[in-house]
Amino acid sequence: MDTLEQEIKILIIEALNLEDMSQEDIGSDVPLFGEGLGLDSIDALELGIALKKKYGIELEAGDSRTREHFRNVLSLAALVRSQGKAA
């Protein structure tokens, strides 16, 4: 199991206060928003701040690639690998 993916799952659970959820409940390829995990736009903003705090990743609100990065845990892990500073 990929440790960065695990780390991101823990970050998601903690930053978004997903009570009653554990890492095992979040499939790495499951969509985070809408269908799938069911997160909403406030979660997207909160997650953006958490990623910035932990990995130093700067996301532009108007950047069309942000949607791709936020697709699932796999895409977030790829983002952290390519742009993260603290990982």
């Binding site: 206060n17 406030i42 903003l45 909160e46």
Partner: protein, 219 residues
């Protein structure tokens, strides 16, 4: 002295201990509720049971002040503000989540009036019930002690507190409520809602701020 009679069908209290029944709120929505809002929605749902057409009045002296203080702390430390905290720092946050959770578009309002928040919220709920007698009104008062460094303040509860009343004309008992100016008997050091709860449980109670003397009498 002015007084009025509030018809009370049922009432539910939450003193911060025991099981909360919040199963009617899906987990993704529930996770965002503060302890105060959890108490508020627990009593709101229990009061509204079997009364699908009820409208709602929420009241709180401090509302989501704990969240506001956390936001101010972030600002002071030049940290980014949490979007979740920001979106739910308003007084009517609990009312909004309740409406979403129930899929209920009934009117709802949120009242704050300092140490007399409970009394004025109850007055608002009573007036709504008078204005539209066919529609029951669920009145929900909830508070928590003001957080450091602002609180706790004089007249705060010791812990999370919530009290809900279902107000409707066909109630068998009524809560005779009176208010007069002046507090010659001295200012009450406790939460105003405790006095009303005492009246509901034991028959009568009174309470005074520096401006008004309130009393309740269950009939």
């Amino acid at each position: 002295m002015i007084s009025w009679d509030v018809p009370v069908v049922r009432w539910v209290r939450w003193l911060g201990i025991g099981e909360l029944e919040l199963g009617f709120i899906e987990p993704l929505l529930r996770r965002r509720l503060s302890p105060m809002a959890r108490g508020a929605l627990h009593v709101a749902n229990a009061c509204a049971q079997d009364y699908p057409s009820a409208s709602f009045v929420f009241a709180s002296r401090h509302g989501e002040l704990t969240r506001t203080v956390e936001l101010l702390r972030s600002l002071a430390h030049e940290k980014e503000l949490s979007p979740t905290l920001f979106s739910l720092s308003v007084l009517n946050a609990a009312a909004g989540i309740f409406s979403i959770a129930r899929g209920d578009r009934a009117p709802a309002t949120a009242i704050a009036a300092g140490v007399e928040s409970f009394g004025y919220g109850l007055l608002e709920a009573y007036l709504r019930a008078r204005q539209e007698p066919a529609r029951p009104v669920v009145y929900v008062y909830a508070d928590a002690p003001a957080p450091n460094p602002i609180g706790p303040q004089f007249g705060d509860p010791e812990a999370v507190f919530a009290l809900g009343l279902l107000i409707h004309g066909d109630a068998r008992s009524s809560l005779h409520t009176g208010i007069r100016t002046g507090a010659e008997a001295g200012i009450s050091p406790t939460l105003q809602a405790y006095a009303c709860l005492q009246a509901l449980e034991r028959g009568s109670a009174d309470w005074a701020s520096d401006r008004h003397h309130w009393y309740w009498n269950l009939q």
